[in-house]
């Protein structure tokens, strides 16, 4: 979905104003840490995928998305996902009161710690990649305007770059649901700064983005 989460190249957000590294806490309020952990634990239950979770956050009204702090967007996404899964009713969410136990088994602490440390690639790393493009190939990012989730940023669409490396086959986020898992070759593509931002762009800069084969075409 083309929404304000896709921020590459936007202007007028002002200075970054980073907190000093040595002074910044991991969480700025206790509720942030609870939202963070609940989001991970809920995700482990496989009622939705990581891409569906991103889409839930990204498809909010853009004004809401920008007004919210980071973990407020996670909270909004988590509420949407649980209601969307059918496991929590809107009434339960509004009142915060359960009308009955779920038949899903919660992830315990031990399993949770194993899950966050688990190894393993997005798809079988031993499987042949069958890449349709090779390192050095010139490619253009397709122009499209998807209502659903995508990881092809707007600032790259229609722009040309060069395949820098092949990352293997990865799950395709645009169609990724619990029931539907497709995988395609994933490429790191190098775009020159001037190709993206014109002659006024930063001198001697390049952007590398990871893009799935269906996003790319031969120019």
């Amino acid at each position: 979905m083309d929404n304000v989460h896709d921020m590459g190249g936007m202007q007028a957000f002002g200075p970054i104003n980073p907190e000093p590294e040595t002074e910044e806490p991991v969480f700025h309020a206790e509720w942030e840490s609870r939202v963070f952990a609940m989001t991970l634990l809920s995700g482990f239950l496989r009622q939705w995928t990581n891409d569906m979770a991103r889409h839930a956050r990204e498809s909010q009204n853009p004004v809401t998305y920008l007004r919210n702090t980071y973990y407020e967007n996670w909270l909004a996404g988590l509420e949407t996902l649980w209601v969307g899964s059918g496991q929590v009713t809107p009434e339960e969410l509004a009142k915060g009161i359960s009308s009955g136990k779920s038949d899903i088994q919660a992830i315990d602490a031990e399993k949770a710690l194993v899950s966050v440390k688990g190894a393993g690639g997005p798809v079988d790393p031993e499987a042949p990649v069958n890449a349709g493009l090779k390192v050095g190939d010139r490619v253009r990012v397709k122009t499209f305007h998807p209502m659903g989730h995508t990881r092809a940023p707007r600032y790259l669409r229609g722009r040309e770059g060069v395949i820098d490396r092949i990352h293997g086959r990865h799950i395709y986020p645009d169609t990724h649901t619990v029931e539907n898992v497709e995988d395609y070759p994933l490429y790191s593509v190098r775009f020159e700064g001037a190709e993206l931002w014109g002659p006024d762009g930063n001198k001697r800069s390049a952007v590398y983005a990871d893009l799935w084969e269906p996003y790319l075409e031969q120019p």
Binding site: H5, E21, S33, R34, D108, A112, K117, L186, N202, R204
Partner: protein, 210 residues
């Protein structure tokens, strides 16, 4: 906690958010969907056990062990596996090396993708709109806001984490550190230098308490 109720301060959110979170948490616990002990365990892990200290070990070893550095640049996930901090399922780590000719910078313009296993959770600025917006279009301007000035001839490479690949910058080893042990070198490595917004500290920075 004092709060005037008007200022939308990102470090002190309105209490209604905290209440909304409490409400959701008790609902999910009552429904048997979330185990409160598991929440505590994950918060403890990411608040205390995983963080830039992991990445510092990786970079210090790369600085002192050329064979390890090559393994790291060839396949960072395999190489970092030697340290026993594996990534989350699905994540693949790539290490990119700063040199006198090339400076690397990592961003996620679409959300907040970040190499949790080596750097912990990202700082607020990394997830913020100004950084996500401008890191790709004005990397030298962004670096300048962190006090990092690069010579004109240095190429800036910005890595936009648009997939499940995660990027770790190996900063340049500072001059004047010949013969230093990995443990000594770790003190020069900052989180920000492994995201690429800053250089590693110099020995003089350490003496000056910077």
């Amino acid at each position: 906690m004092p709060h005037d109720g008007h200022d939308h301060d990102h470090t002190e959110p309105p209490s209604d958010v905290a209440l909304r979170v409490k409400s959701l948490e008790s609902l999910l616990i009552d429904k048997g969907l979330v185990d409160p002990a598991a929440i505590d365990a994950l918060v403890d892990r990411y608040a205390h056990r995983v963080g830039p200290q992991n990445g510092k070990k990786v970079v210090a070893r790369a600085w002192t062990d050329p064979e390890f550095k090559q393994r790291l640049l060839d396949d960072a996930r395999e190489a970092v596996g030697e340290f026993d901090f594996k990534g989350r399922p699905g994540e693949r780590l790539v290490a990119v090396e700063n040199t006198p000719e090339v400076h690397n910078l990592v961003v996620c313009t679409l959300c907040s993708c970040y190499p949790w296993n080596v750097l912990g959770l990202p700082p607020v600025w990394y997830k913020s709109a100004p950084y996500r917006a401008r890191a790709v279009s004005d990397p030298r301007g962004v670096l300048g806001e962190f006090g990092t000035e690069l010579p004109d001839e240095v190429e800036v490479r910005v890595w936009d984490s648009t997939a499940e690949m995660r990027y770790l910058v190996v900063p340049e080893r500072p001059t004047g550190t010949e013969g230093w042990s990995a443990e000594q070198l770790e003190k020069l490595i900052t989180r920000n230098s492994m995201i690429g917004v800053e250089q590693a500290k110099s020995p003089a920075d350490l003496e000056g308490g910077a």
